[in-house]
């Protein structure tokens, strides 16, 4: 909600700066951003009372002398003769109707009304709707204006099941379905209560006689309606968060006052229906409890003074909660009020003693498995549980975010297979992944959970020169895993590539095992890998294709061998992503060593070109050519 600094500060005697008010608002828990002297407020859902100038001023009154008493029309009003029936009084326990006829529509607005539209960059609509919007901004209570000449017959408020088309005053056509709270005239919906009025009875720039409706609707009856019909509605935002159930007549009288300040009123009359008296909440004064909750030592006088400033009616025994604070019911609620006023940051810390719990080992087994897999070059992934594939026992999501993914996965392998193909498409030639997660399905009409480890691998066994030409196979993984965990059965299997859209031919090996099936032998595994000790600053990754170059060298003079290897492996260029030795052969008979290096190039912003690669490679070659005894076979 947007609130102009200018509109707030004109009601604060001390005339504080925008930065000072901003600090106070944060202290009180009212998060906001400031742009061009406008506070863009984000209120917590329990503070519907703050959704107006007066609401914020009431909270700021704990720090400043403020004025929240705008002029209202104080004279006696005739009783409105209206044919109205409220068939859902529980939902709408208070409602007022004002009928007002004016002599002429004003050509221009008073400064305060003009400023409201100008300062907040809002569009004007028509005279009565403009006043309705302004009054809601000023005191938080929405009103709805019907063109009185367009209402014929009995007016009914009702919560009912209905299916009919309804055109809003913003000319959006919606199909009402299910239960809705509506105003009806001649059995036709003319207003979706608390959300948006209808076009058929809305005011226009010619309207001179208006019927103003000002109601309290129970929040639970309004919640969800604007989302249901995709309507942005300030009224529903306020009703959902609770408006003051005792402010309807005052709001109507403020409305009249503003009309009166702009034009001559020919006739007006008012009727107020109070079907149910608003319950007053009283909480006993217990200053010691408040101090215990916050950890402070404030006096009773100080405590009650703060509450008085916030609008609570206090005496030595009880605290009476104002009608606009529906969120206050308990001692803890009052403690929060006091903590806000003191300032959370001003409450001193008190050293805490934590009762020692038992040292838990619920994750020991899977942590051991994790580090075992890390030691063998596997990367952990985390996948979304939402999938499109269902099995007979899959769990169905009633309201999926994507209708193509409306089931919870019943295995981890399918997700890992997608991860593997994703990385293959990015030219990865050695892929080893694993995931540990809960899996859910329906078993015997009940939701069944099991914790699984799944592993998938394909491509080269590794990038070092020993593993480079070895391909991952079932035999390879069986042997590798048995070597460290001889008593565990990972049940590796080969996945078919037949239905996969890929040209890669490498075997895909996977397994999926219940964590519960592993023996306690796993806990004895001594891991080599360690968690990183610090948090690594991430470098953004490129989705552009790699370019690969291999260079093989023949070394016959070994004195420069180490320097040569170090030079290449340490060579840096912003386009050079990776270098490793993929081949090494020491031919003792011929007194020759052959070393193959793989260079992987990638650019962050454009596809890398042959010329760019050649330029970098030629720098390396030029340097190496200067070294005696090292040649590149085939290079002339």
């Amino acid at each position: 909600m947007k609130i102009a600094y200018k509109h707030l500060v004109k009601n604060i005697i001390a005339n504080p700066s925008i930065d000072e008010i901003s600090d106070r608002l944060f202290q009180l828990g009212h998060e906001h951003e400031i742009e061009n002297d406008i506070f863009n407020m984000e209120f917590t859902p329990n503070r519907g009372d703050c959704l107006s100038i007066n609401g914020l001023l009431r909270d700021l009154s704990v720090f400043y002398n403020v004025n929240t008493n705008q002029e209202i029309y104080n004279h006696k009003l005739n009783k409105l003769d209206i044919d109205f029936e409220n068939l859902s009084q529980d939902i709408c326990p208070q409602i007022s109707f004002l009928k007002i006829e004016i002599e002429s529509i004003p050509n221009k607005y008073k400064d305060y009304l003009n400023d409201y539209f100008k300062d907040l960059n809002l569009n004007k609509n028509n005279f009565f709707t403009d006043i309705s919007n302004y009054v809601s901004y000023e005191n938080g209570q929405p009103t709805h204006c019907y063109d009185a000449d367009k209402i014929n017959g009995k007016l009914v408020f009702q919560e009912l099941d209905t299916e009919q088309e309804f055109e809003t005053l913003l000319e959006k056509k919606i199909n009402l379905i299910g239960r809705n709270n509506v105003f009806l005239s001649n059995d036709k919906v003319i207003n979706l209560a608390g959300v948006v009025g209808g076009k058929e009875t809305s005011c226009s720039s010619d309207t001179k006689t208006v019927l103003v409706e000002c109601a309290f609707f129970k929040p639970e009856a309004i919640i969800g309606k604007s989302v249901k019909y995709d309507i942005q509605s300030e009224a529903s935002y306020k009703f959902e968060r609770f408006v003051d159930p005792e402010c309807q007549e005052k709001t109507i009288r403020r409305f009249i006052k503003i009309v009166e300040e702009h034009t001559n009123i020919k006739d007006m009359s008012l009727i107020t229906y109070n079907y149910k008296k608003n319950k007053v909440t009283k909480i006993p004064v217990k200053t010691n409890v408040i101090n215990q909750i916050i950890g402070t030592n404030i006096s009773q006088d100080e405590y009650l003074t703060y509450l008085s400033k916030l609008g609570f009616v206090v005496n030595d025994e009880n605290i009476e909660v104002p009608s606009y604070r529906s969120d206050i019911e308990t001692q803890n609620d009052l403690a929060e009020e006091i903590a806000r006023v003191i300032g959370y940051d001003n409450i001193a810390r008190n050293e805490i003693t934590i009762p020692k719990g038992k040292i838990s080992n619920i994750y020991d087994m899977e942590n051991k498995l994790r580090f075992f897999l890390l030691d063998h070059g596997f990367y952990e992934v985390i996948n979304s549980p939402f999938v499109g594939i269902n099995t007979s026992n899959s769990i169905c999501v009633d309201n999926p975010l994507d209708s193509n993914k409306k089931y919870l996965r019943s295995n981890l392998t399918q997700s890992l297979l997608e991860n593997l193909l994703f990385n293959e498409r990015r030219q990865k030639d050695s892929i080893k992944l694993f995931e540990i997660s809960d899996i859910y399905n329906i078993k015997d009409n009940k939701i069944n959970v099991s914790r699984k480890l799944a592993v998938i691998a394909s491509g080269r066994a590794g990038h070092n020169y020993k593993d480079f030409s070895k391909k991952i196979s079932k035999k390879y993984l069986d042997a590798l895993f048995k070597e460290s965990l001889p008593n565990e059965d990972f049940e590796f299997k080969v996945l078919s590539r037949e239905s996969l859209n890929t040209k890669v031919k490498n075997e895909i090996i996977s397994c999926e095992v219940d964590i519960a099936n592993f023996s306690t032998d796993v806990l004895s595994y001594s891991e080599i890998s360690k968690s990183p000790e610090s948090f690594i600053e991430y470098s953004p990754i490129s989705d552009l294709p790699y370019s690969i170059r291999d260079l093989s060298f023949s070394i016959k003079d070994f004195k420069e061998l180490d320097t040569f290897i170090e030079y290449i492996l340490e060579f840096k260029h912003k386009l050079l992503k990776e270098i490793y030795i993929f081949d090494y052969f020491n031919n003792e008979k011929n007194a020759e060593i052959k070393i193959g290096f793989r260079f992987i190039f990638q650019s962050a912003d454009s596809t890398i070109t042959e010329a760019q690669v050649n330029d970098i490679i030629s720098v390396i070659i030029d340097h190496i050519e200067e070294i005696d005894g090292i040649t590149i076979p085939g290079l002339t």
Binding site: Q292, E351, S360, L374, V397, D398, V449, N586, N587, E592
Partner: protein, 241 residues
């Protein structure tokens, strides 16, 4: 010239994998809290409305319960937990105070953009004992935040609203660019929640806190788009060793 018989082959570099950065951060925070004395407990990701909402004083009308915020499953018989708080409820029903629990794991909400995902991770902690106050909560939060971000980090507490805590607060840290960034929510356990768990709220009080792992991971690693964590891209994962 030395003979190649004496030459040792280049060192074979065995490539190690990496823990997922979200799990790494989750484990680090859990380890920290365990060192403070908290006990780890666990609970299901598919929950009932009773544990996810009712027991936590989240009223039937609360917006979070709407279909547009919560994933329901199997004809609304259950839901995907929207926070890890139901685990604390299960813990409090099983054990009498004094108690100090933490739980971490996946939670689910109907969001999907550069800063929100339908699945993300949380860690929550609860401590119930005699005479626990907001001043104790502040002490604990300072210890957690200083351990995570260093002793020099500036933090502030802002009043907030959670149905299960009262008073409630959100905690911000001051970034190196001078911006306040929200990192956790906390508060004193609402006495209604204690009573729901058969704990006498006149004798005991408690504190609770919850951290979103992704948000902190984004800050600590400088990741700008939350979706990068879940693409399973080896170029991304291999950076976190």
């Amino acid at each position: 010239m030395s003979s190649n018989k004496d030459i040792s082959a280049p060192k074979i570099i065995k490539e190690r994998g990496s823990i997922h950065p979200i799990n790494h951060l989750k484990d680090s925070i859990m380890d920290l809290l365990v060192s403070f004395g908290f006990e780890i407990i666990d609970g299901p990701e598919i929950e009932t409305e009773e544990f996810n909402f009712d027991m936590l004083n989240i009223k039937k009308t609360h917006p979070a319960r709407q279909m547009h915020d919560t994933f329901y499953v199997e004809n609304k018989s259950n839901l995907l937990r929207t926070h890890t708080s139901p685990v604390q409820i299960r813990g409090m029903l099983e054990k009498r105070p004094p108690l100090a629990f933490i739980s971490g794991g996946k939670v689910f909400r109907k969001d999907d953009d550069a800063t929100h995902l339908p699945m993300f991770h949380q860690i929550e902690g609860i401590l119930i004992d005699k005479n626990i106050s907001f001043a104790h909560l502040k002490d604990l939060i300072y210890k957690i935040v200083h351990s995570l971000f260093g002793e020099d980090i500036e933090l502030r507490f802002r009043p907030s609203y959670f149905p299960f805590t009262e008073p409630s607060a959100e905690v911000d840290i001051l970034s190196s660019e001078g911006k306040w960034l929200e990192i956790l929510g906390c508060g004193l356990v609402n006495p209604i929640v204690l009573e729901n768990c058969n704990i006498d709220s006149n004798s005991y009080s408690g504190l609770a806190f919850g951290l979103g792992i992704e948000r902190i991971a984004m800050l600590k690693h400088g990741v700008k788009d939350i979706r990068d964590f879940y693409k399973s891209n080896l170029d991304f994962l291999s950076q976190f060793k």
